[in-house]
């Protein structure tokens, strides 16, 4: 019987490819550098990525849950660790702990319409959901993706978005905050797409990911359309350290964001939206 890996000890993974998505965002594809690997993951879970000599950061898994041996992470370079990560090359080895946390409610979504709302880098943690929805398309009602980004240049996963958009069984609406030149798509915040999206508010599951302010206004807009709060899920990506409910860094009241989240039903975390830092 294989030993259960210690969740505090990183497993070495080798970078296979580095894909530049936008100016500040990149996708790493990794495979295990030894016989040891992390357990399969569910859509919405994250790993702790350890850059040797620099530090460790939580990053959601953006790949396909049906091919867990190929680990995919999409990261925006914002600070010390993520900027060091941006400089890595194929062949480099990093440490991985995970997968951790709760996952998107794909089981609850069965038989219902599914509304996926992503803002900016928030599309990355939702991409595993989209892979699953496409793979098991017949299990769900209408599938709608609403994606907002700052400018056309900031749009992630363009090729995949185009492929999904061309499907007759999926509605994909994209909007940007501002554009110049030849952009022919929508301009305006992502919340504006919600009232015109074709889904049944009374039998849908909404999954929302992006900066907290974007999630908050998306939830308000979903509620305006009649979506019950219990059908709305969000991902709280606040800072964490141990990721296993041990250090208390991410604790708020009885909830640990790292193990009870990052995916929560909105009514469970609504009270956190007025707290600045936890």
């Amino acid at each position: 019987m294989a030993a259960v890996p210690d969740p505090m000890i990183p497993i070495p993974y080798r970078i296979q490819t580095v894909q530049r998505e936008t100016d500040d965002t990149f996708t790493l594809t990794l495979t295990a550098a030894s016989s040891e690997q992390i357990a399969p993951f569910q859509a919405g879970q994250f790993n702790m990525l350890y850059i040797f000599g620099v530090g460790e950061v939580p990053i959601s898994i953006s790949g396909d849950p049906s091919t867990p041996e190929k680990l995919v992470h999409t990261t925006r370079a914002v600070g010390t660790v993520t900027q060091a990560m941006q400089k890595l090359k194929p062949g480099n080895v990093i440490g991985i702990r995970g997968p951790f946390g709760s996952h998107w409610p794909l089981e609850e979504a069965r038989g219902n319409d599914v509304v996926v709302i992503a803002g900016g880098i928030g599309l990355a943690p939702l991409r595993p959901v989209l892979y699953t929805l496409v793979k098991y398309r017949e299990r769900f009602g209408k599938v709608v993706l609403l994606y907002g980004s700052r400018t056309p240049e900031d749009i992630l996963f363009r090729r995949e978005l185009e492929k999904w958009r061309q499907r007759f069984d999926m509605e994909v609406y994209i909007t940007v905050d501002r554009a110049t030149g030849n952009w022919r798509g929508n301009v305006g915040v992502v919340t504006k797409l919600i009232p015109r999206a074709p889904f049944d508010p009374y039998s849908c599951v909404a999954m929302v990911c992006g900066p907290e302010i974007m999630m908050y206004y998306s939830v308000l807009s979903l509620r305006d359309q009649g979506v019950p709060t219990e059908s709305i899920y969000i991902s709280m990506e606040r800072n964490m350290k141990c990721a296993i409910g041990f250090c208390g860094h991410c604790q708020y009241g009885p909830a640990f964001i790292c193990k009870d989240g990052p995916v929560f039903r909105f009514d469970q975390v609504e009270h956190l939206f007025n707290k600045r830092e936890i």
Binding site: R76, V78, G119, G120, I121, G148, S149, R150, D154, T175, D177, R178, A179, T180, G181, W183, R184, G185, N186, V187, G188, V189, V190, T191, K192, R196, G210, P211, I213, M214, Y217
Partner: protein, 152 residues
């Protein structure tokens, strides 16, 4: 005219408005069509119209020296655009350019103002609907300003 009345009544902007009021306002309405690239109006021109988009997509743009036209919003089927006809000096503050073949109902601003003055109840009803739109636009602008997809 009967036809325009029906189209107005079906547009979300006039949802649940009394048929008498819709019929009365239809006197200010006309059909319009724009090809892709057509400017529907331009910054600085007199603003004397209110547009109900029935089909297509329109980009609202501000010209920024050194950057060119910056798109600040797109409006499409079911949306309305333009309230500069409501307040002096009745001038547009941005450009509106059709991105696709666009069909709209154009309401004459002066005619609307006159009808509102003649029938204050209708005037109040129309202003309430427009105030809601302005509030929605303001909220969207606030979200754009705080950069909701930003890093922090």
């Amino acid at each position: 005219m009967e036809n325009l009345e029906k189209i107005l009544a079906q547009h979300p902007f006039f949802k649940d408005m009394s048929p008498e009021h819709v019929a009365y306002l239809a006197g200010c309405a006309a059909n319009a069509r724009y090809d892709p690239g057509d400017f529907i109006f331009r910054n600085g021109q007199p603003a004397n119209q209110f547009f109900l988009i029935r089909y297509g997509k329109v980009s609202l743009e501000i010209f920024v020296p050194g950057k060119g036209a910056v798109m600040i919003e797109t409006v499409q089927e079911g949306n309305v655009m333009g309230w500069s006809w409501l307040v002096p000096p009745y001038r547009w503050h941005f450009d509106a350019r059709a991105l696709e073949l666009t069909r709209a109902i154009v309401m004459d601003g002066e005619c609307l103002r006159k009808k509102c003055a003649e029938d204050p109840r209708l005037g109040y009803e129309l202003m309430s609907r427009i105030a809601r739109l302005i509030e929605e636009r303001l909220r969207a602008t606030q979200l754009q300003l705080i950069d909701i997809y930003g890093k922090d």
